[in-house]
């Protein structure tokens, strides 16, 4: 169901680069709410960057539409960009300029966006006086982040934003995202880094071959995820009873130690355990990566 007050609304968005060619994005629909960080995950070539380029009106849709803060991404593109901060996956900057010259130039194209530059440069410890061609990838990424945040946008569209940043700067970046969402800002965030997605996103969309195959909150994923338990029995592990649980994967070591993987309802496992003497039971930490791979390989539909 489409909610009217969403920060980003994508409805049946499709992109095909030529007649007869495969769809790069097909019938994609999603919404990002104010104050939400939406993680957009998928393997290379899945359609993540195409979706972002459609939202930024760098390319035109073959069907459907995207709107940001109620404005159409194509027809109201200029208005949309007043409110959007954008960081490309492979950011291209003017190599001969210094960071300061570049940010000055960009702020002239967006009046009123200059005053926040110094604060951001300080937070990211960015060297604004060196020529961009002389900067490392991480330092160039800092300039990229400053230009995305410098006008305090209401919506951030970020393609692999932490690429090249050291852990300290990643923390700074996550802090900045929190500040943005606290004031009602929204973030659309594409990433390969599952650990950071797990940490900062409220909701995740998985895209594969141009189609959104799953969309869940982190809490839902955790709930539906396969959980793995390491169980030590006082006596011999009841392997046959454990294997009889529908959907359980069981391996037994040393006769007394069993590892049980189970998705969904856990009560059948506990019914079996109640009949036996258990020395210890530990649950392994949720592995989002396994969940991602589960969807990625196509067995999650």
């Amino acid at each position: 169901m489409v909610t009217k007050d969403a920060a980003i609304t994508i409805e049946k968005l499709s992109k095909r680069y030529g007649a007869g060619q495969k769809f790069a994005v097909k019938d994609l629909s999603l919404q990002v709410m104010p104050g939400e960080v939406y993680g957009f995950l998928g393997p290379n070539g899945a359609g993540k960057s195409t979706t972002i380029r459609l939202m930024m009106n760098f390319i035109f849709p073959s069907g459907g539409r995207a709107s940001i803060l109620g404005k159409d991404a194509v027809k109201d593109s200029v208005e949309v960009k007043r409110q959007v901060g954008y960081l490309a996956g492979e950011i291209a900057l003017y190599q001969k300029m210094t960071g300061r010259q570049l940010l000055d130039y960009l702020s002239q194209l967006h009046p009123g966006s200059r005053r926040y530059i110094s604060e951001l440069a300080e937070r990211f410890q960015a060297d604004l006086d060196a020529r961009i061609r002389d900067l490392s990838k991480g330092n160039r990424q800092k300039i990229g982040l400053i230009q995305a945040f410098m006008h305090k946008p209401k919506v951030l569209i970020l393609d692999e934003p932490t690429s090249g940043l050291d852990p300290l700067m990643q923390e700074e970046f996550f802090g900045l995202l929190k500040e943005t969402t606290k004031t009602g800002g929204s973030v659309f965030f594409s990433s390969h880094n599952l650990a950071e997605v797990q940490r900062i996103c409220d909701r995740i969309g998985f895209i594969r071959e141009g189609e959104l195959i799953a969309e869940q909150t982190i809490a839902d994923i955790a709930q539906a995820a396969a959980r793995t338990f390491d169980i030590t029995f006082i006596d011999k592990a009841p392997a046959a009873d454990l294997r009889a649980i529908s959907g359980a994967s069981v391996s037994v070591k040393n006769g007394r130690q069993a590892t049980v993987g189970l998705r969904g309802d856990l009560s059948p496992l506990f019914k079996v355990l109640a009949k036996h003497k258990v020395a210890s039971i530990t649950q392994r930490e949720l592995n989002l990566e396994d969940e991602f791979m589960h969807l990625y390989k196509g067995d999650g539909q």
């Binding site: 680069y17 960057s49 380029r53 930024m56 009106n57 760098f58 390319i59 035109f60 593109s77 200029v78 208005e79 960009k81 007043r82 959007v84 954008y86 490309a88 996956g89 492979e90 950011i91 291209a92 900057l93 003017y94 001969k96 130039y105 960009l106 002239q108 194209l109 967006h110 230009q147």
Partner: protein
């Protein structure tokens, strides 16, 4: 539009300086030997007398290579200056949008509240200003050197010829701008198409002075509307220059029509 225009001019400042220096040096080397050549003009005219009209037409439209007017036209304004300035205009037309798109810096600019129309107009204006600046500097250098070597052609006529060269070059630059605006295929073809149109026009126009049936087709090319000798004698009909202006505006309009509704190339 102003920041984009200023930004583009700033990025191109070195190339503007080097083009101005290069063209001025060429003009200096061409004109500085005029006193020596002029003193031998009778002998030189005799020795070149056997050349056919068609061959002469490829170098000059005055029929005289060594009078002040003939020398300035044949050595500079008939071919070389239009050629040099057209090379500049065509390379700008190809690269002003094309290079930014290839480097993906265009996305940085268009992620700001900047419409594609504003972006394209700023690039077109920057190209026009650069060609006009190099053309004007070249014309002023020509006037100064003509004075220094007693090459007696009135300064206002040289200025008029310089203005016509600028307009001619801009019409070819606009063609390259339009072809480059088409995208990936256009970018690689733009230099070739604009050069063939420009140089082809020069050859066809020159041959049309001797071959009657080429007179009609020659009218399709801008060079037919550029008459160096008339410009340098103050007898040029400036309605001819409307062709350059119309062509430049037409190709810029076409560039806008295709660029505003096409996908930017990916990084």
């Amino acid at each position: 539009m102003r920041p984009l225009l200023a930004g583009t001019l700033q990025q191109r400042r070195r190339s503007i300086i080097w083009w101005s220096v290069g063209v001025s040096a060429f003009i200096l080397l061409t004109l500085i030997f005029y006193p020596t050549i002029h003193s031998q003009s009778d002998q030189l005219n005799k020795s070149l007398g056997h050349l056919s009209q068609t061959t002469k037409q490829l170098f000059t439209d005055t029929g005289d290579l060594f009078s002040p007017l003939g020398y300035l036209s044949s050595q500079l304004f008939y071919l070389m200056l239009p050629l040099l300035l057209s090379v500049l205009a065509i390379s700008l037309g190809t690269s002003l949008i094309g290079r930014e798109e290839r480097d993906s810096t265009i996305e940085l600019l268009l992620s700001r509240p900047v419409s594609r129309t504003r972006y394209l107009l700023a690039k077109a204006a920057a190209g026009t200003l650069i060609v006009a600046a190099v053309g004007l500097i070249s014309t002023i250098v020509t006037i100064i050197i003509c004075k220094a070597v007693d090459l007696e052609v009135p300064a206002p006529d040289i200025l008029a010829a310089g203005a016509a060269v600028i307009l001619l070059s801009l019409s070819l630059g606009a063609l390259a701008f339009f072809v480059a605006a088409l995208g990936r295929a256009g970018r690689s073809a733009s230099i070739g198409i604009a050069s063939v149109y420009g140089l082809g026009g020069y050859i066809i126009y020159s041959l049309s002075q001797s071959i009657d049936w080429l007179k009609g087709p020659a009218k399709l090319f801008p060079f037919s509307y550029y008459h160096a000798s008339e410009l340098l004698t103050g007898s040029y009909n400036w309605l001819n220059a409307l062709f350059f202006v119309a062509l430049a505006l037409f190709f810029t309009l076409l560039a806008w029509l295709v660029f505003r509704r096409r996908d930017l190339l990916g990084s």
